[in-house]
């Protein structure tokens, strides 16, 4: 590894964080859609949804957090695309810096921005009556899963960021990710779904992640779900990381 990797990544991270600080709308737009979903489902549809729990917002929040991440990571593709278009990417590539720093800085920026959005969304949920008895270790476990999930999706986002031809193309990939939670246990229990849909819902990553977070919040034994959730997160992370790096190397040589 290049001896400047940490220093260069920190400098480039500082640059991207300054971008976010100067256009905080990226964090607001990331948080607004999940908050709107939360309001809609809790106050409009929620009364008709039978979840077997007394508070629908408690049931809903884990899925909303997943949607927050899925919409937030598209900004990584967006920012990477703009760097490539603007020529500053080539400047960095022609300088004596650690080359992987350019990607890592964008990935870590995504992590910081998404964590801020998640805090905002959780804050709104608390106002709407979300309550948990989870202690520090429970919260840390939830945060750990969300960090892993953010990193996994961010490395996916790096790929369209490097390959897209247009700005719309760079961010359009995230729409399916945003809708994945709808066909999962995020909004309604999977038992209410017809056979094939239920089979899909129960075997896609979001359901196990949502179930694990929900169990942590409600202090239930997490069981197998947390291991399935971690396996999904780590598996996606490793694959996306490798694929993104292949794409990157192809792009710069």
């Amino acid at each position: 590894m290049n001896k400047h990797f940490v220093g260069d990544t920190a400098v480039l991270l500082g640059r991207s964080l300054r971008h976010i600080a100067r256009s905080p709308d990226t964090i607001i737009t990331t948080a607004i859609m999940p908050i709107a979903f939360m309001l809609l489902f809790v106050y409009v549809f929620g009364g008709a949804i039978e979840t077997g729990t007394d508070s629908y917002v408690n049931y809903l929040l884990p899925g909303i957090l997943i949607i927050t991440i899925a919409s937030g990571i598209s900004y990584t593709a967006f920012r990477l695309f703009l760097d490539l278009k603007g020529g500053i990417f080539e400047r960095f590539q022609s300088m004596p810096i650690a080359r992987s720093s350019v990607l890592w800085a964008h990935v870590l920026t995504s992590l910081v921005a998404n964590l801020i959005s998640l805090v905002v969304v959780t804050g709104v949920a608390l106002i709407m009556g979300f309550r948990t008895g989870a202690g520090v270790s429970g919260w840390l476990a939830v945060a750990g899963i969300l960090v892993l999930f953010t990193l996994a999706l961010t490395w996916i986002a790096v790929i369209p960021g490097l390959t897209a031809k247009t700005l719309d193309g760079a961010s359009a990939f995230s729409y399916p990710l945003i809708f994945l939670p709808f066909v999962s246990s995020a909004f309604v229990p999977t038992q209410s779904m017809p056979g094939p849909v239920r089979a899909f819902a129960e075997h896609q990553p979001v359901t196990s992640i949502v179930n694990a977070i929900r169990d942590l919040f409600t202090q239930q034994p997490v069981g197998a779900d947390i291991w399935i959730a971690l396996a999904w997160c780590v598996g996606i992370l490793v694959l996306a990381y490798l694929f993104a790096n292949v794409t990157y190397r192809r792009r710069i040589s």
Partner: protein, 251 residues
Amino acid sequence: MIQVQGLEKSFKQLKVLRGVDIDVARGSIFALLGSNGAGKTTVVKILSTLLRADAGTARVNGFDVAAQAAEVRESISLTGQFAAVDEILSGRENLILVAKLRHLKGPGAVADDLLRRFSLTEAGSRRVATYSGGMRRRLDIAMSLIGSPPVIFLDEPTTGLDPEARIEVWQAVKELAKGGTTVLLTTQYLDEAEHLADRIAILHEGRIIVNGTLDELKRLLPPAKIEYVEKQPSLEDVFLTLVGARTNKEQ
């Protein structure tokens, strides 16, 4: 300082470079002249390690661009065809960013010094998004000087600039060469090569068709006939006189 031999590069079916040879002496300004699509940018990208050549060798500051890319990157600086500046950061922050990435001590002082040299001190704290084309280009070149790399590539440094900004850029390039920096610039403007370059090479259909000093190139044509022509001011003279007079008054 820069030695290029038999450089070839194709993009799919298209042969862009068909054997380019260039030799640039230390501390000189070398202009690569050619029409759009002649392959000028491809040469610059290969020399700045952004592209790999299909065949041929290229050495910059004694280092092979393919085998010693990291050393080449330590020796060069690239100002690409489009100003590679960060729009959201201020001019000063852009300079500090590059100074930090070049691992220099005192990046703030480096930035302030360059802002002064390129008359950007007042604009230094403003976001680059508010800069004019000429200011952006000046900042872009200033960013390339950080760390005083011995070789600088300027890819069409004045394309899209107004006449005043062009002259400012020319001034900056001349000063660079005076300080001992080797400059390779590409341009499609004949007068730019005439003004700046110690040597000029014309790149046409993937090959260097001529390479020499301005006088040598002129000797390729039949000797000049002497004609007496009334000297009319050119539109550029008129423009610069009028606009220059106004700018002077403002200052």
